[in-house]
């Protein structure tokens, strides 16, 4: 699997290269600035891009803008965005085209190599990887008063949280140490309570849940 990596801090870039190579990824390019990233994305045609939001020369959200632009040119280009902070605003922009293949994680998540690599793979396959912090913010906003979310049991809420992060039923089952059948039952309950249409497609399901959490429907 070919990866284009953009990160301006040498230590972190070097560490990510090593981490990804150790997990059988091929580094097509490891760059440190916005213009270089734009060129690499256009020329190297990677399977997935791992991009830091803030890049030189402007040190603003250059990385995010590059990633969004690349996805406009090549819809569905898998992009995993890393940042020192996560904002629902940015998550919304990444998810706006509704085509999946998007990840948005705190840089801290690279501490857990297995989970991080799993997220990169998931995004590369067209799935979603949303940082738990984003999901918690979304849940906090939608849980007030008599919103449908308030009617979920604690277990269902846990399942919803993991589902919104982009995990499959199997992964959620493994995480919560229950059977996949039990998760499927929770999922059905959650969708019924929120009034969402059940979908067998994991990715469509995640996007529906995220849209629900973001806009309350």
């Amino acid at each position: 699997m070919r990866v284009v990596l953009a990160e301006d801090l040498f230590l972190l870039r070097d560490g990510l290269v090593r981490l990804l190579e150790a997990h059988d990824f091929e580094i097509a390019a490891a760059v440190e600035s916005g213009p270089e990233l734009a060129r690499a994305l256009a020329e190297r045609e990677p399977d997935v891009a791992v991009v830091d939001v803030r890049l030189p020369p402007t040190h603003t959200d250059e990385g995010l803008q590059c990633a969004l632009e690349a996805r406009r040119r090549r819809p569905g280009l898998p992009v995993l965005v890393l940042s020192q902070h996560v904002e629902q605003l940015y998550a919304r922009e990444l998810l706006a085209d509704g085509s999946g293949g998007v990840g948005y994680l705190l840089k801290d998540r690279v501490f857990d190599a297995e989970q991080f690599v799993d997220a990169v793979r998931r995004v590369a396959r067209g799935g979603t990887a949303m940082d738990p912090q984003v999901i918690q913010q979304l849940l906090a906003r939608q849980s007030g008063g008599d919103r449908p979310l308030a009617r979920l049991t604690p277990r269902e809420r846990e399942v919803l949280e993991l589902m919104a992060q982009g995990r499959t039923n199997a992964a959620i089952a493994g995480r919560l140490v229950v059977t996949e059948r039990a998760i499927a039952k929770h999922t059905a309950n959650i969708f019924a309570k929120l009034g969402l249409e059940v979908s067998d497609d994991d990715n469509r399901r995640v996007l529906a849940v995220l849209a629900y959490l973001d806009h309350g429907r």
Binding site: V53, T60, Q84, E87, Q88, D108, F111
Partner: protein, 433 residues
């Protein structure tokens, strides 16, 4: 008895020194009036002539010279005001660039409020200024004429060949015989008493008049200085308090965690062969600590300068802020550019504080924020549909916001009737880039 005589002595001394002051004021006023009237007239005439000649070009060369002369004259009067009247009139001219061409020089001078004040002062000085300068001399000299009339001068002025022209008028006293001349003498005496009492203050009035016209608008400047002093103190206090808070947070948070992590890693090193299971457990704990340290640092950074503000500017930073609030918040932004970073930061934290207040106290279920820029001002309006009753009082968050904005000459207005709704408007003068 002794005490009484001392009193008498003091009184006599006071009277003597006052008499001396009267004579001095009269003399100086006379000199001042006589010398400055022609100079004022000359300065005004030359200035007007020179400015009138600007369109044909000659004025461009002469005006700086003439205005410099006017300034020298005004400066001389400033010195006299300070020395003779104790009235200080600080000059406030703008500097003119040394190597400026005549055009720039002329127009820099003509645009200087201090120079314009000089020109406005000249006609006042040759009229009201002249009269007030002359007044002490008149008050002192006129009584002398009254005494002279009483002493016999009346015969010359109203008698003999002048008799057919009617009486000689001294003030309001018609003098035509010795009795009326004595009346004139009495009036003179009264005037002398008045002069003795008021000549010095009349002379003072001249300098106060000069200051009123020539001096810069002191009260306005003083007010400005007061405001600047106050807001600067607030700004320094606020930033010092912020730095203390950051220092404490780092000290108790990230720094302490890094120390603990270093210690744990040392233990891991020692245990790695003896007790690998324990070592692994400690490593997991270290990783947890590093994650927590990062979270704390992230919150700290958000409090110093929110990353979205740096990355996207005020509009998106407020949008991102709104998305973090538990209450539905509508954000409307019309900013064609970005303000300077300090202004953006002040506006952001002001909005943040007002929104937090609204969430905590208003009981509202809808908030809205409107950001736009017009007439050189950034205007931010934050509203809610809550129960109202918000005040800018001591200790309230809004007072802090007002202080913060004050540093940038920004203002805060709160409309919050009991029962709501609340609307907080903030305005900061700034340019967008």
């Amino acid at each position: 008895m002794r005490l009484m005589s001392m009193n008498t002595n003091t009184k006599r001394d006071g009277t003597t020194s006052r008499a001396r002051g009267m004579v001095r004021a009269a003399w100086r006023g006379l000199v001042l009036a006589v010398v400055s009237l022609p100079l004022s007239v000359l300065c005004l005439a030359l200035s007007l002539l020179s400015i009138a000649l600007v369109p044909v070009g000659i004025g461009l060369v002469t005006t700086p010279w003439v205005l410099t002369g006017v300034r020298a004259f005004a400066d001389w009067r400033r010195v006299l005001s300070a020395e003779w009247g104790g009235v200080r009139i600080p000059p406030a001219y703008r500097p003119v660039p040394e190597d400026a061409n005549p055009w720039t020089r002329t127009f820099t001078l003509l645009r200087d409020p201090a120079v314009l004040r000089d020109l406005r002062w000249l006609p006042v000085d040759m009229t009201a200024g002249f009269v007030t300068a002359l007044l002490p001399a008149v008050l002192v000299l006129y009584p002398l004429e009254g005494f002279a009339l009483a002493a016999g001068l009346w015969r010359t002025m109203a008698g003999g060949p002048y008799a057919e022209y009617g009486p000689y008028w001294y003030g309001f006293v018609p003098v035509d015989d010795q009795v009326s001349a004595l009346g004139a003498g009495a009036l003179g005496a009264v005037l002398l008493v008045v002069a003795h009492r008021y000549a010095v203050s009349a002379f003072q009035a001249h300098f106060r008049l000069t200051r009123a016209v020539l001096g810069s608008n002191q009260t306005e400047l003083a007010e400005r200085v007061r405001v600047l002093t106050e807001t600067r103190r607030d700004a320094v206090d606020t930033s010092a308090a912020e730095l203390r808070r950051i220092e404490r947070d780092l000290h108790d948070g990230a720094q302490a965690r890094l120390v603990a992590m270093g210690m744990d890693l040392g233990t891991v090193e020692a245990l790695i062969e003896k007790d690998p299971a324990k070592a692994r457990e400690l490593l997991a704990r270290t990783r947890q600590s590093s994650a927590e340290a990062l979270t704390e640092l992230r919150e700290l950074v958000r409090g110093i300068h929110p990353p979205v503000l740096a990355e996207r500017g005020l509009g998106d930073a407020v949008r991102a802020l709104a998305l973090r609030l538990p209450v539905t918040t509508e954000v409307n932004v019309e900013l064609p550019g970005r303000a300077e970073a300090p202004v953006e930061s002040a506006a952001y934290f002001a909005v943040s504080e007002v929104l937090t207040n609204a969430v905590k106290h208003s009981g509202a279920d809808r908030l809205w924020v409107d950001l736009h820029h017009a007439d050189g001002h950034l205007r931010v309006t934050v509203g809610d549909n809550g129960k109202g009753g918000a005040v800018v009082g001591a200790g309230s968050g809004l007072a802090g916001v007002e202080r913060r904005l004050g540093t940038f000459d920004g203002v805060l207005a709160v409309s919050s009737p009991a029962g709501g709704p609340t609307m907080v408007t903030m305005e900061i003068p700034c340019a967008l880039s």
